[in-house]
Symmetry: C2
Subunit: 335 residues, 2 copies
């Protein structure tokens, strides 16, 4: 038990709103899996299906994709012994604590959030869910008393919001109920897509991890290149194939491609794309089989997640009970 | 079972944010208790402690007062056989369904709500909870699939909001998940306070039901009157003592005071106030004892509420399950 308290609890997540691609892999999945493999951490990977509902036009996506996301993390080696994978909507305590945070922070805070302002500016219909989203996100963190939250540049505001909300609640109730989270800054450079813009589903420039082989082949074939010939020397730093390759290939494979590109003798972009596909198949092929196995056996996944679920349920109940006590709320549920 | 489905399910509530007074009694409590005594209805009295938290400056009030409110209804004869008394914060399904409603309604709807605009206009700090309040209120209703909601004039907007939100959710999910509630218009005239303004805690012009006898005596003594003498005839319709008296006195007692006031011979306002206090003691005295008994025996209250709690838990689980199915959400909780 005492050993447990020394661990740093890290909370992270990825919205189930699209097929997982190489950009997700290098920017979020790989770092999370590495964190999970470090015994000094206790990582909770939370799949935020409730957050995905804030986009009314795609309201069925979280339900359709959350299991895929969870199976992806499992197949890619997320370590379950000391860590946990949970589905947000299985923890009602998150909604409850979000309410407690909402009752001690100002409405103006929500109206100033980037996600909400962006939606308004782009003329989209901003749902009440989108407006309320920062409190739910803060609650994800505090409900499990996470110490650290990995953040990229675009999520910094949400974490500041979470810290502000924690302070407001603790101050209003004169308690130390919620733990103020700290950012774990991650320096994951943005992965470019096959057209050279940021890799993003909305640009249709992605390379998937576990998608149909034909589609992966097509995407790789379409990676943008310059017109250098077969025998010309090519600069790896300027070669999009190589950039993308580095997000998943082994050190050895990377060295090989780098050398070949620089030499250039008889090694054109076509060859590099062949090597790309081969390595992609080597790295993700076997894992794809495992992924598909999990996908088709949700009850097996339930069993795998069970220990982590129970642990997280304890965290959530403990925190929620503290919040209720801080507010002095009554209950008639304990017969 | 078939008989049960014919009953009209009525949801009602009163915020636990102040001592219960005669205005609450005549405007909300008495009508609710009468509804509960009619076997054609199934009344759910929900004590909305979560709503009370939206006023950050008084954030401990709901916890301090919810038990008092519930004991008041019990002592005054709320019929528990076919009906239920529940505490909002005991039902996490309400927060969950509030989120589903929020994700299919526009943020603008919330920003146009009266309670929020009033708070802004009066320069108060509007909390995020206050802004989000209409979705939680709508969820109170739909989570228990209530057919009817008693409304006064000032609550009409919230019920319209609830209906709108139900339609938005059902439309977005192409389902019939939530039931659209109908208003049960109640024609309860507003009770005046001892100074002639509307009876309200904020005016400090209330007469309590179960407060200390001394305070009741003081309040009654201070009921505003004109300067008519002992032997002058007095018009009951213009007499504030008589107006307040009518909110709780028996038919017989009302007739008696009315006659005496009109006759006027040797019956001054002092006498009317004496009669008022006597009748107040007759009507509420014994009930105050019961109220105090419940107040000091929360476990007995838990037992009394148990059946209703179980019934409401079933309603809430059924509706929430339907909402999750309509959205296609997954779960790993069922091992």
């Amino acid at each position: 038990m005492s050993k447990k308290t020394n661990k740093l609890r890290v909370l992270t997540g990825i919205k189930p709103t699209g097929e997982i691609h190489l950009g997700n892999f290098s920017g979020a999945i790989k770092p999370t899996i590495e964190l999970s493999q470090n015994p000094e951490n206790e990582v909770i990977f939370l799949c935020p299906d409730w957050h995905g509902l804030t986009n009314k036009g795609q309201i069925f996506q979280p339900g359709q994709l959350s299991h895929h996301v969870i199976c992806t993390y499992l197949a890619l080696g997320f370590e379950l012994e000391n860590n946990a994978i949970i589905l947000q909507s299985d923890f009602s305590q998150i909604q409850e604590n979000a309410w407690y945070l909402a009752c001690t922070c100002s409405a103006g805070l929500l109206e100033r959030s980037h996600a909400y302002k962006d939606a308004l500016a782009s003329g989209k219909e901003a749902t009440a869910g989108l407006l309320f989203y920062p409190t739910l996100m803060a609650s994800d963190i505090v409900t499990f008393a996470a110490h650290l939250v990995p953040v990229g540049k675009d999520q910094a505001q949400h974490l500041e919001y979470a810290s502000d909300m924690v302070r407001h609640f603790n101050q209003a109730t004169n308690s130390q109920t919620f733990l103020e989270p700290k950012p774990l800054f991650q320096d994951n450079p943005i992965l470019l897509g096959i057209d050279g813009r940021k890799m993003s589903k909305s640009y249709q420039n992605t390379i998937s991890l576990f998608g149909p082989q034909k589609e992966t082949e097509k995407a790789v074939k379409n990676i943008k290149t310059d017109s250098k010939g077969l025998n010309e020397s090519k600069n790896p730093e300027e070669c999009l194939i190589y950039q993308l390759f580095c997000s998943f290939a082994s050190l050895e494979a990377k060295e090989h491609m780098k050398e070949q590109l620089i030499k250039g003798m008889g090694y054109g972009y076509g060859h590099a794309k062949q090597d790309f596909l081969q390595e992609h198949q080597r790295v993700f092929g076997q894992k794809r089989e495992l992924y598909e196995h999990y996908l088709n056996n949700p009850q097996e996944v339930q069993k795998l997640l069970k220990n982590g679920y129970e642990k997280c349920l304890n965290y959530a109940n403990e925190v929620t009970q503290k919040a209720r006590q801080a507010l002095g709320l009554k209950s008639y549920k304990l017969w």
